[in-house]
């Protein structure tokens, strides 16, 4: 009972997390405004944010659901293009309406594609699912490349790139999205819906036998994963201002997958950390000049050999849990530490 009193009550934990996050936003944002953080670092930080969303969203399908989609870049592309086309057309709308709307459109269109692709793809297993999603990803790219010349649209501009997209993505916008995406996935995973998704990864037949509608949950996780990839794509479009289908090829999907696996399958914090590291790494390696990409690939191999389960394994980290542990240790040593998973 004494232990009970020392535990941080759940709402307080949520408030602590929220407060920490807001402090982070405000501090970094003012540092950017005052140029304490230079334009270069700001760009890198924003890219990190976008990659976090991509990695975390793929982790939902790969780490939690246990599938291996290799077409994540396709969803990102669909989201990026649809939101970019909207943003270019919606220049009359005020920013506080256009921006969220653009993100929603990017996410929704990607989600719809996720649904269309997920229904057939999820009937397959393992590496066959991988290849079929890879195929869909490539088809999306080919369509984006050729649709204008065939139908006479002026939508994607094919190989000539979709240019002059309003550069609406800011640090604040990106990281609010990062927060929302992480929050939604985290809370979902800690509910019966998340457990259903995990059970499918662990053993599909057993999950069915427990009365879980596996097809529904597989599709749901897949669509959600696509939706968030679409949001990341939208942010990317507003970040770069120019889109070309060739930037959303198979290698981009692989890049995202590397982030997820390197971070540790099924570990959200792992995905966050490895998205950060892998985005920053090529920048840090600039000193190596010509040897940059060789060094990058060697590091990747080394990490996998020495830490095969990824940087974080399946460990999920919680600030408030850490705080709680710290607190409970302070006064009375005999109080047993809070049980794992108590923070839900």
């Amino acid at each position: 009972m004494i232990k009970q009193a020392r535990d941080i009550p759940t709402p307080v934990k949520y408030l602590i997390n929220l407060a920490l996050f807001i402090i982070f936003l405000v501090v970094v944002n003012s540092m950017i405004a005052s140029k304490t953080i230079s334009g270069y670092y700001t760009k890198v930080i924003m890219l990190i944010g976008i990659n976090i969303i991509l990695a975390v969203s793929l982790n939902l399908a790969t780490g939690y659901l246990g599938q291996l989609p290799l077409g994540h870049a396709g969803f990102m592309a669909v989201g990026a293009y649809s939101s970019a086309i909207f943003m270019k057309a919606a220049s009359a709308l005020p920013m506080f309406i256009a921006l969220p709307l653009g993100l929603m459109i990017g996410g929704t269109v990607a989600g719809i594609f996720g649904f269309i692709i997920g229904i057939p793809a999820l009937r397959l297993r393992g590496d066959y699912l991988a290849i079929i999603t890879l195929g869909f990803g490539e088809i999306i790219r080919v369509i984006l490349l050729n649709i204008d010349s065939v139908l006479g649209f002026n939508l994607t501009y094919g190989a000539a790139s979709l240019k002059n997209i309003p550069k609406t993505t800011t640090f604040l916008g990106t990281f609010i999205c990062v927060f929302i995406v992480c929050y939604v996935i985290h809370t979902m995973m800690k509910s019966r819906h998340g457990r259903a998704i995990l059970s499918i990864r662990e053993n599909e037949i057993a999950a069915e036998s427990c009365g879980i509608k596996t097809t529904y949950y597989k599709t749901m996780a897949f669509v959600m994963s696509a939706f968030f990839a679409g949001v990341a794509g939208s942010l990317y479009a507003g970040y770069l201002g120019i889109l070309n289908p060739s930037n959303f090829g198979f290698m981009k999907s692989i890049e995202i997958l590397v982030m997820v696996v390197l971070g540790g399958m099924g570990s959200m914090i792992g995905s966050v950390i490895s998205a950060t590291v892998l985005t920053a790494l090529p920048e840090l390696l600039r000193a190596f000049a010509d040897y940059r990409m060789v060094a990058y690939s060697l590091l990747l191999i080394a990490v996998m050999i020495f830490k095969p389960s990824g940087l974080m394994g399946t460990y999920d980290f919680s600030l408030s849990r850490l705080l709680g542990k710290g607190l409970s240790r302070l006064p009375a040593r005999n109080a047993s530490p809070a049980r794992k998973g108590d923070d839900r």
Binding site: T10, Y14, Y183, V184, T187, M188, K190, S191, R192, H193, G194, R195, A196, L198, S199, E202, N203, I205, A206, A207, E208, S209, C210, G211, I212, K213, T214, T314, R339, K340, G341, R344
Partner: protein
């Protein structure tokens, strides 16, 4: 002792006036050329503990797979509490009241023991996605109730102490017990146990027997089990069906089965038990 007709229905007196938990009529399935189960007629009382025995490869597990809709039958019908189960999926069959364990354990190995049970409780927790994400009070309430219920269920087998352990790290026997708890969590009316005592030593087995009875009494459900351990089968089953080459060759009480010459010939062996 006079022999019964293998197609006769045989349910305990107390269940006679209730709808049977399950009723199979001429159920059968083929795999390619192989007829794994044929002409399977079987009725199970609402609170009966029954046994399904037979030589290896007789089709016992296949019957379970038919009942849980893992396989769709080639022939025949199956009524679950009077409802036809045609076109149901495994998940629907579960929600309609059938839960099972597996001959080769299928736990969610990387998840905790508690999570395994909570997944079993999936359809007992009524929280939609929005409530869960927004962490509305209903979410907290349902989660708490579910956790309490999960712990209650675990306590049947004295497993509350390992609730936080990874399911895959448990000893074999404990994994078998956890599968039963998980199946119970889905709130079934019919529980199917596929060789629950496999890999247990005799003293563990007798403890299991106690628990199976306890479960039936507590939840007032029917239990159908496959087992090769005759001490267990003869000890707790009220009715027994014997399967050989996919067909029921005998039905009856343990006493009747023990002395059935066909069963001795095909299954028990001369020494008997």
């Amino acid at each position: 002792m006079p022999r019964r007709d293998p197609h006769e229905t045989l349910i305990p007196e107390r269940d006679k006036d209730k709808t049977p938990a399950i009723e199979c009529i001429g159920l059968g399935i083929d795999f390619g050329g192989l007829t794994a189960v044929d002409d399977f007629n079987f009725t199970l009382g609402r609170t009966e503990i029954a046994g399904l025995i037979g030589p290896n490869g007789a089709g016992k597990t296949t019957v379970f797979n038919l009942l849980t809709k893992v396989y769709q039958p080639t022939r025949g019908r199956m009524l679950l509490e009077g409802r036809d189960t045609k076109n149901m999926t495994t998940a629907q069959a579960n929600r309609a009241g059938i839960a099972r364990t597996f001959q080769n354990i299928r736990l969610f190995k990387e998840l905790t023991v508690l999570d395994n049970v909570l997944i079993g409780l999936h359809n007992e927790i009524h929280v939609n996605l929005a409530q869960a994400i927004l962490r509305l009070p209903s979410y907290w309430r349902c989660e708490r109730v579910a956790r309490e219920r999960a712990m209650d269920l675990l306590s049947i087998f004295d497993m509350t102490g390992v609730a936080d352990k990874k399911a895959g790290s448990l000893p074999y026997g404990a994994q078998r017990r956890l599968e039963i708890v998980r199946a119970l969590a889905t709130n079934p009316t019919l529980l199917l146990l596929d060789e629950p005592a496999a890999g247990m030593n005799p003293s563990e087995t007798s403890e299991l027997m106690e628990n199976i009875r306890k479960i039936r009494d507590m939840f007032q459900i029917s239990i159908l089990l496959i087992e090769h351990d005759m001490n267990l089968v003869m000890g707790i089953c009220e009715g027994i069906a014997v399967l050989n080459y996919g067909r029921i060759i005998a039905k009856g009480t343990p006493e009747e089965i023990k002395s059935d010459p066909d069963v001795i010939e095909a299954y028990l062996g001369k020494k008997g038990h």
